[in-house]
Symmetry: C2
Subunit: 109 residues, 2 copies
C-alpha cells in the first residue's frame, strides 16, 4: 500500500517517528534515528538520510560532516504509520565510531 | 563489545527504548516496538519477544494472543545504548494485520 507523509502519525511520539536505516543490499540494520515531518520531507526530496537530532535539537543529514552519506532508495512505513525504514545505499560507515553499523554490541546472555 | 541491561539508557526516552525486531535468517525488519527495563529483563530471561505497550500501558509478549511468538536468538545494542535489536526466529506473521512484516507500505515518491 502507498502512504503519504500526511499519513504518518508524528504526534504519537511528540512530533517524531523512529527511523530504522537499513542497507538495501546487505539488509544490515545500520542505525536507529528520528525524523520529524520536515526531515522526512527533506529525505523524500533530496534522497539523502535526513533526521531530527534529539540531542542537538536540529535537523541533520547523515554524512554532512563525515561525508558518509546515505542514498535513500525507498522509504517504508509500518502498519500503524508510526515507524519508518529508510532503505539506503551507504557511502561509508554508518556509526560515528567508524563501525559499519551502530548495532555492534551484544547484550550479555 | 558486551553490554548489560544496566548499560541501557532508558531515561533518554522516558523509560523506554525502541526495539527493532529483525528476522535472524532473512534479515527482514519485522516490527518496531518499545521496551522498558522489565520487558528487556523478561526477553533476556525467557527468550521471547517482550515489550512495553504504549497504547495499553502494559507489558506484552508478541504472540501471547495470536500464538505468533518470536524466539530471540540474540540481542544487539547500539553505540549510544539507546536502541536495541531483537534478532528472532518468528513462529508466525509479525504484523497484527496478518502480514509477515509490519513494514508493508511504501512512502509515495
Amino acid at each position: 500500500m502507498q502512504k503519504s507523509i500526511d499519513d504518518i502519525d508524528f504526534e504519537k511520539s511528540g512530533g517524531l517517528v523512529p527511523v530504522i536505516v537499513q542497507d538495501i543490499l546487505t539488509k544490515d540494520v545500520l542505525t536507529l534515528a528520528y525524523a520529524n515531518k520536515e526531515s522526512l520531507e527533506l529525505a523524500k526530496k533530496t534522497g539523502n538520510s535526513w533526521f531530527w537530532s534529539r540531542s542537538r535539537n536540529k535537523l541533520w543529514m547523515k554524512g554532512e560532516e563525515s561525508g558518509n552519506t546515505q542514498k535513500i532508495k525507498e522509504i517504508l512505513v509500518d502498519c500503524d504509520s508510526d515507524a519508518i525504514i529508510y532503505l539506503v545505499e551507504p557511502l561509508g560507515p554508518a556509526c560515528h565510531l567508524g563501525e559499519k553499523v551502530c548495532f555492534h554490541n551484544s547484550l550479555e546472555k
